[in-house]
């Protein structure tokens, strides 16, 4: 008897949707979570990644090359946007919100001018599926899950185990102090924004083969990305992953068993209640941690 006999038939798709939720929010962790820019153009960087993969496929016939170059394209556009506009707006959050909204509209319109509103597709780089424990597992969807896990591990390692990550955390916590301790805050901010955009671009490229592309493609992911980052706690990477699992899992289970509309309503309710309860829970966790530390210090 296989594992599939005990689990719902959509179990693998639930895992895929959880991965998608985490994947689309990874980039926003850098731009919004860390840099505090309410980046309403986040969806458009997903769009840029998807269309970059599409364009490179058109030019070279090589889908994998598109997957590799999509984050580079999105990252470079991100640097131009940060250096050209957003670096003047770090202390003006409402202005940066307006700027990113305007840029999102411009990017969307430019994509529509270049590619029209006609649906486009990116080939599945691997194609096919295989049987695992009684489940039918499409190779590319499995790749999305694996890539998401790898990216989560990589981001955690970079932020917590490297000098760049240490300087990044210092920069976002106290930019004035960071600058006077030898950290090039301007460079660090540009790098973080570029990484956020590159991750969004990579998400777009990875998701392109399982979606139909059009200029509105990025908008599909914008709200859910923000929900994940806000519920997880702005700037908390572990919180982001937990929120991605909670929201993506809830949406998938309800969507597959009841309806998409009902699932989206429940996800919004979970996000609202979660945001309301999070300060209380985090205070309890912090208090417990402080108590433990003071006991350790007194020993």
């Amino acid at each position: 008897m296989t594992l599939a006999a005990f689990l719902p038939t959509d179990s693998f798709n639930v895992i895929v949707l959880i991965a998608v939720f985490v994947l689309i929010a990874l980039g926003l962790h850098f731009t919004f979570g860390m840099l505090n820019i309410v980046n309403l153009a986040h969806g458009e960087f997903i769009l840029i990644g998807a269309y970059a993969a599409f364009q490179l496929q058109e030019w070279t016939g090589n889908v994998i090359l598109g997957m590799v170059l999509a984050p580079v394209v999105a990252g470079l556009i991100g640097v131009v946007m940060e250096r050209g506009i957003l670096r003047f707006l770090y202390e003006r959050p409402l202005d940066s919100l307006l700027a990113t909204f305007g840029l999102s509209v411009i990017i969307r319109q430019l994509v529509q001018l270049r590619y029209s509103a006609n649906p486009r597709t990116v080939d599945d780089p691997i194609g096919g599926s295989f049987e695992l424990a009684g489940f039918n597992v499409p190779w590319w969807r499995l790749m999305i899950v694996i890539a998401t896990v790898a990216l989560v591990v990589a981001v955690l390692a970079v932020l917590n185990r490297t000098e760049f990550g240490l300087h990044a955390r210092a920069t976002v916590r106290n930019p004035g102090l960071a600058e006077t301790m030898g950290i090039k805050v301007d460079v660090m901010r540009a790098a973080l924004f570029a990484i956020g955009c590159a991750l969004a671009g990579l998400a777009g490229a990875l998701l392109a083969p399982i979606n139909t592309l059009n200029p509105q493609f990025g908008l599909l992911f914008l709200v859910n990305s923000f929900l994940v980052v806000i519920l997880g706690g702005q700037g908390s990477f572990r919180g982001l992953v937990a929120a991605g699992v909670l929201l993506g899992g809830s949406l998938a289970i309800l969507q597959f068993n009841i309806s998409t509309v009902f699932a989206q309503i429940v996800v919004l309710v979970i996000a609202i209640v979660g945001v309301r309860l999070r300060p209380i829970l985090s205070e309890q966790i912090t208090t417990r941690g402080d108590r433990r530390r003071s006991v350790e210090a007194s020993v």
Binding site: T180, M181, R293
Partner: protein, 230 residues
């Protein structure tokens, strides 16, 4: 006189508001120069301007370089360290990580040993988030961060302000130890601390230097008491 810092005609402020006007000061190598004045005189603003946090006009020469237009990180790399009065730690980062940032990835073990020797309590709390330290311990961390990079000049903003007397007794010898290798510009309102550590003093009032001279002389002729409204 061999000066590590020379400031001439400095003007600085916040946005369109000018706080400091025509500041001219000098810090000789290896000396502790006190910057004194009442709250709101512009002492912290001057340190921020020198450290590149605030834009400034005038001429600032540090260790032979004109650093007037330099950014903070470049000023730090050239050998000027800042121990701020408030907002002095990165929330969420441990004590050890603070020292790692200060050292820029070089000689971390040596730096941690030196910091722990100066302030043993920090050595016991390397893995503790810095925002959970007491006020006095934060001051110690700030001083340790400056000390481990062996700077040419340390800008120190009221290191004994709001700290328990028992901690002050620990801080003063540490600051004195620092002065053996670095010049110090010490912002201070406490005359006893200035007398204990300083050689020369400038008195700031409403953004301008109104008095300067040897600390003992300014104390003995009553200038400090009068200017600090004691």
């Amino acid at each position: 006189m061999n000066s590590v810092l020379r400031v001439e005609g400095l003007n600085a402020g916040y946005g369109s508001t000018t706080v400091l006007r025509d500041i001219t000061i000098e810090v000789p190598a290896g000396e502790v120069v006190c910057l004194m004045g009442l709250n709101g005189a512009g002492k912290t603003t001057l340190l921020k301007a020198l450290m590149g946090v605030l834009p400034k006009k005038g001429a600032v020469t540090f260790a032979g370089d004109d650093i007037t237009g330099w950014k903070g990180h470049r000023i730090y790399d050239s050998g000027m360290a800042w121990v701020p009065q408030e907002d002095s730690v990165f929330s969420g980062l441990t004590v050890g990580e603070h020292l790692a940032i200060a050292l820029g990835g070089e000689g971390l073990d040596r730096g941690i040993s030196a910091a722990a020797k100066l302030f043993p309590v920090l050595g016991d709390r390397l893995d503790q988030p810095a925002q959970t330290l007491s006020g006095g311990e934060r001051k110690m961390l700030g001083i340790a961060q400056a000390m481990v990079i062996e700077p040419k000049l340390i800008l120190m903003d009221e290191p004994t302000e709001g700290v328990a007397p028992v901690v002050v007794q620990e801080l003063i010898p540490a600051i004195r130890l620092l002065t053996e290798g670095s010049a110090v510009m010490l912002v201070e309102q406490n005359i006893d601390t200035a007398l204990a550590l300083g050689t020369h003093a400038y008195v700031l009032e409403r953004g301008s230097i109104v008095e300067s001279g040897p600390v003992t002389e300014l104390h003995d002729n009553g200038t400090l008491a009068a200017r600090l409204a004691l």
